[in-house]
């Protein structure tokens, strides 16, 4: 077993004291991000990229990349644990992926079973985390071996499929989603051209030659954008926080949750692997599935434990599953994984099939750290859940200005130019305006991250074919990928024409 030896090496990396510390910090902040309504995993991860970059500045590049990605991934899956806390105690989901949990979770809290609901949510998340990690270990090598056979034409088509999937599922209007994707791709062309070295759209502004910094754009759009929204639309949090009570679930409740957790984990994992679907859809699907499978569907919505166990397992499994296309193919399937990918590229670590050959310490170190991180999260979320529930009471008065200050610090510390700080504020305003009017931001970031790679692969393929665009249709794998991408766009369109409603991913 090759994968097993690599995994053991990965554990050696992940168990180094500083990496343990980074994993702990990541899951701790992630849980807090999950608990706080208004700060999603996307803005949490974006906000922390520059902070981790400055924290790891003393390490050598490969180690710094490993430590940073361990922390950032910790925030991502940690938020999946934390999101359930407010759903259950306050009837206010901390994340969009925990919306379904409010249906039964809050009912359970009203009946005085909040502790059991929280415990099952944590246990379900833990089991799902393990399931998706084991699948990740098993699938990583074979998948990246397949992807290694891809040429530029296949890669171009694969990325197009990734964009089609995310744009097709994001937001209410597909036109708007596509506009955001194309806008992101266009922004990525600013700066020196990678192939020829020609300056594009720079107008002799020296800051623009390096292109728009991904970090500045992501922090601006997500972190500042959400702060501006929170300031303008004052959200009232006057709901009563339910008492937690006994933390351990009863035997009957535990027994009742086994099935939903197992099914939620598997379903969530597969939905997570699909580009564009993500944790929110996974939790919805698993809740609907449990209701259909249940012998007592009338209990759903009235405080049944299966209604908490299934979606909470599914959203965590999906976040693990989403790591697979990111690590093995270099294709992020959601906004958050796009941000993680941007962070890796910042450290000169290119996610994709070569990642496991070139930087095995980064890839396997991350996977091993996710095992450790999940154990930490279980400990954090079971006995310490009462302390985390207190975070809900953090006054926004202090929180929001502090987020602005952290964003400015982070961007300035990494970029060391005032130009980027102004850019940050500008993108914050843009992010607020666009998101407020149903223009989804995830495709924009995805376009920005994938832009240079799409263009390079397109031009390499076209150079090999002497400028003949038919090359993308002549290679069989490329053709199949393009057909799938085409169907992904056309099928929902036809369904809409037939008057069927389609599920969209509001927030990824």
């Amino acid at each position: 077993m090759d994968a097993l030896t690599f995994l053991i090496d990965g554990f050696q990396t992940a168990l180094q004291p500083h990496n343990l510390f980074f994993a702990f910090l990541g899951v701790l902040i992630g849980t807090a991000v999950g608990v706080l309504p208004g700060i999603g995993p996307m803005s949490g991860v974006a906000l922390l990229i520059p902070v981790t970059a400055s924290m790891t500045s003393g390490l050598d590049p490969a180690q710094a990349a490993t430590s940073s990605i361990i922390l950032l991934a910790g925030v991502y899956y940690g938020a999946m644990y934390g999101g359930s806390t407010t759903s259950i105690l306050l009837n206010t989901p901390g994340e969009s992926s925990s919306v379904v949990t409010t249906l039964d979770g809050y009912q359970m809290a009203k009946q005085g079973r909040a502790g059991a609901a929280l415990a099952i949510a944590a246990i379900g998340s833990f089991v799902a985390g393990l399931v998706s990690l084991i699948a990740l270990v098993l699938l990583a090598e074979p998948l990246s071996n397949v992807a290694l056979k891809f040429g530029p034409a296949e890669y171009f088509s694969l990325m197009l499929l990734g964009l089609a999937a995310v744009s097709g599922l994001a937001g209410n209007s597909m036109t708007k989603a596509w506009m955001m994707t194309v806008f992101g791709l266009l922004l990525s062309t600013i700066g020196l051209d990678n192939v020829s070295g020609v300056a594009r759209f720079t107008y002799n502004i020296s800051f623009l030659y390096g292109g728009l910094e991904f970090l500045t754009v992501a922090v601006g759009l997500f972190a500042l954008g959400e702060v501006f929204k929170a300031i303008l639309h004052k959200e009232k949090n006057d709901g009563e926080i339910a008492k937690i009570g006994r933390i351990l679930p009863s035997k009957a409740e535990a027994k009742e949750s086994v099935g939903p957790i197992a099914r939620g984990s598997l379903l969530g994992f597969f939905v997570g692997v699909l580009p564009g679907a993500g944790a929110t859809l996974a939790s919805f699907f698993s809740y609907i599935m449990e209701k259909k499978l249940s012998k007592t569907p009338e209990k759903f919505g009235k405080g049944t434990i299966a209604g908490v166990a299934a979606p909470e397992s599914a959203n965590n499994a999906a976040s693990g599953g989403a790591m697979i296309p990111l690590l093995t193919l270099g294709i992020p399937g959601s906004g958050t994984t796009a941000i993680l990918m941007g962070a890796l590229i910042m450290y000169n670590v290119q996610p994709g099939p070569l990642l496991f050959d070139e930087h095995p310490d980064v890839a396997w170190g991350l996977i091993a750290s996710m095992f450790i991180g999940n154990v930490m999260l279980l400990i954090l979320n079971m006995p310490l859940v009462k302390i985390f529930a207190k975070i809900i009471e953090t006054p926004t008065k202090y929180l929001l200005p502090l987020i602005v200050a952290i964003s400015v610090f982070g961007v300035y510390a990494v970029q060391v130019t005032i130009f980027d700080v102004f850019l940050l504020i500008g993108f914050g305003l843009l992010g607020y305006l666009l998101a407020q009017h149903d223009f989804p931001l995830a495709p924009l970031v995805l376009g920005l991250v994938l832009g240079p790679m799409i263009e390079n692969n397109m031009r390499r393929a076209l150079t090999a074919s002497n400028g003949d665009f038919m090359v993308f249709f002549e290679k069989p794998i490329s053709l199949v990928l393009l057909i799938i991408a085409f169907l992904w766009i056309v099928v929902p369109f036809i369904m809409k024409l037939k008057g069927k409603s389609i599920i969209v991913n509001e927030d990824m």
């Binding site: 708007k176 266009l186 303008l232 202090y398 700080v421 009017h437 150079t463």
Partner: protein, 151 residues
């Protein structure tokens, strides 16, 4: 969905796409050793953005007139903090990190909710001095230090 905003956005993005198309014509067409120059990709994208914007313009014509109830926005708070952030960015390098961050945070805290001035001052001082101390002294990073006339 706001009809006006979407129309303005569609026209703006149409202009952006057109601008990219026109400007990409000025980029040199050929690059040594490759059949496709650096101008092709942005030109095609600009074209797609223009077409999508036109599609959105047509879609706005079909929007139903449903005036959703508007909640009052907190413009005053927002503009105070936005203005403070702009000044923060503009003065960061000349006045230094600690002072600008401190002032920005005090204004920000007070703009969010008046009162508790001493608490705000304490928090702002802790954050600005703490970040500066941790990052510059401990991690050897670079941040603009104190202004020259204070040194």
């Amino acid at each position: 969905m706001s009809k006006t905003f979407d129309r303005i956005a569609a026209i703006t993005f149409l202009a952006v796409g057109a601008l990219f198309m026109v400007e990409s014509l000025r980029i040199s067409k050929s690059a040594y050793g490759s059949a496709v120059g650096p101008n092709v990709f942005p030109f095609l994208l600009g074209l797609i953005l223009v077409l999508l914007s036109i599609k959105l313009l047509f879609e706005t014509a079909r929007y139903a007139h449903s005036e959703s109830e508007k909640q009052p926005l907190q413009y005053k708070k927002f503009f105070i903090i936005l203005l403070a952030a702009v000044f923060y960015a503009a003065l960061l390098e000349t006045v230094g990190y600690v002072i600008t961050t401190f002032v920005f945070l005090v204004i920000g805290f007070q703009a969010m909710e008046k009162g508790g001035l001493w608490k705000s001052v304490l928090f702002a001082a802790c954050f600005s001095l703490g970040v500066y101390g941790l990052y510059v002294k401990l991690l050897q990073g670079t941040l603009p230090s104190w202004p020259i006339w204070l040194q």
